[in-house]
Symmetry: C4
């Protein structure tokens, strides 16, 4: 055995063109679609000791976390697509960052289960909520990395992209980490308040791209 | 932290063209395919206290709800495609409505499990059936929203689409909510009757697009 | 409410061209990929009362049924693709037959679980094997329907397709139902023999398309 | 019944062109995306006898095996794509080898579960680790087969591909089996050491294709 054999698939060993982002995006889309669909596996028919209807109503933390996670993953999917529409090339570092990002997306059903399971238990609801919201804070990091790596020095963007637009998008992504960190801190003060803020954040990110808010964002 | 950073990905911040519906449809297809396949997870090998064959026959509510949900999701998939074939553009509101619609599609294995589990329990079978059929009634709403948003003022349709065809499709979608609401009400009167009607509705929606019925729909 | 509203999406109500088979195939591929991957959910870490290694070895019926079902679904996927390569158009009946076929594909992990769970139980192994092999016999029917509907009167095939080739393919599909029916009958005589024949059938269908056998098929 | 009916879909019976690798790759991508996403199903909310936080921390073997398997499957996916970019044609043998390879990919969540479950049990942790790392060693075989079958005699590659590049890639794939075999042997000596080596191997395969290492691979 000799190191001369080298690593597999070093880019210089390939004769084909550097691939675009199509397959990377298709693979990511598949992972998104599956992760978002697996959320339903948390919803199981309840025991019906006091009747099925009571059992179903008692599952409200499961419905809440299902809706929260579904909406957020859906919005992140849309944002991920927005980023990939600006990006015209790919490289190995970008592939690795995207893999890190997907590792986080696939992880999301787990804190969702935790929140669903423990939101009703006084002793553990704070831990469950901290883990849940903290996970979303953590995920902002690989997401920001994806964009910043692609955008710095116009590395993977269209060559004629307006630098002012690029820096505007970059600035807009600064907001997320701060908001989610604040909400994470809030879980230690008040669980209900942190979840209400979390829902408002989801709503904000869902509706912010609507044209109706264009003037507001331009005015500030 | 300043609001000047604005929201992420406001459309005015992008340089690329407004995307078509291809990726939205591909993502939706993935979600459909996974949700329809997860239905099998409800089918688990039975205990065999009285022999495996008896155990398998006792699972009949599971087979029934599997077939019902599979056929209906399959037909909804076909209808979703039909809508998207008419639609040539997309916007953020449409994306959000489609997300709402997918949240309902992903939810469907849950009421399917409930029906499978409780159809054999006299005390809870009515609740289970009401929840099952009620869920399909609720789902008609985002489905209709999808079409109506795209079609009103010819917002996202082909520019040369015949307004008479558009309004004919719109009218045809008025029928569903009414039929499912009636069937939902029927669950409070007779569970078997409501399930038979549900099966007939599925059959109706499956075969209605067949050319053989063209003359009937034109005649009425 | 009046029937004048008609059924949703009757083909005559659409302005767009009759769709090709691309989306139908992409959806089917997604369902195939998920159904084949869900097979792994049957493989769970064993209890380790007598050590993990013993526990793992005791799972052999699970490995056997995993390999059987994976190979067969893989071959059916390849055959499904072969059919779709000959087919250039689609219609609503074809869509419904394909849906029926997919309902069977999605169902397959269930008899696979049954075989895995009960192959080691003397009282139930015959039932489990009959259900398993019987399911594959049943599935040949929608598969044959798919091809025969598309091929009869050259309904959905390429217009210039050689009728002799078409009828050769049709004849080749006659063999499957007979072979699986014989193997199904064999489960009532000897479970091990029927499983060996089942494995040989899978092998036969896997290697039969190899060029090396061309002369044999031509000679007979 | 006569053998004259022949096997289904013998290649000589088709009128359409030999298919490219697109659909094979799309199907493989779907299987990869699902297998990598199913890894999260191992992460279940813990019992909270000593508090949820303690329960979550006790799950560390689950997090470790999740990260390991996710990164490795991600890298294998990238390598699989690299191979397919060199390959311009497909044939039935190649399809079968790819099916064998996918059967191994789909299997991976099972040894991942075993490692997660038993890493904390002194009596079984060595067996669990041997099974886990041994599985990855086994998987190198179908992966190498894929490339070697396609590359030998330039069977499925681009016609103008440089033979020196081909043999360089072939040599680079010789390293993997040896490294994983050594690490498999190491599990019998020291479980922690073998897992550290496993992590380093994953890291090595993740970063090896980076341009920064080009000179190193060229120098050796």
């Amino acid at each position: 055995m000799s190191l001369q054999e080298g690593p597999p698939a070093a880019p210089d060993a390939t004769t084909s063109e550097s691939p675009g982002t199509e397959r990377l995006l298709a693979f990511s889309d598949g992972v998104f679609a599956i992760a978002i669909t697996l959320l339903v596996l948390d919803l199981r028919p309840p025991e019906s000791k006091h009747g099925l209807l009571t059992g179903l109503l008692d599952l409200w933390p499961h419905y809440l976390s299902y809706v929260f996670s579904f909406v957020i993953i859906g919005i992140i999917w849309a944002q991920h697509h927005f980023i990939f529409r600006q990006i015209h090339r790919s490289d190995h570092v970008f592939l690795l960052i995207n893999l890190l990002f997907l590792m986080w997306i696939v992880f999301l059903p787990f804190p969702t289960s935790i929140l669903a399971e423990y939101l009703n238990y006084p002793h553990d609801q704070q831990t469950a909520t901290s883990v849940y919201i903290g996970t979303f804070f953590v995920g902002v990091i690989p997401f920001n990395l994806l964009w910043r790596y692609a955008a710095s020095d116009n590395r993977l963007l269209a060559h004629d992209m307006d630098p002012r637009v690029v820096s505007k998008i970059t600035r807009s992504y600064n907001l997320g980490p701060v908001l989610y960190l604040v909400d994470f801190a809030l879980t230690f003060i008040s669980v209900p308040a942190s979840l209400i803020v979390f829902g408002l954040l989801a709503l904000f990110y869902a509706v912010a791209p609507l044209p109706i808010f264009d003037r507001i964002w331009k005015g500030v």
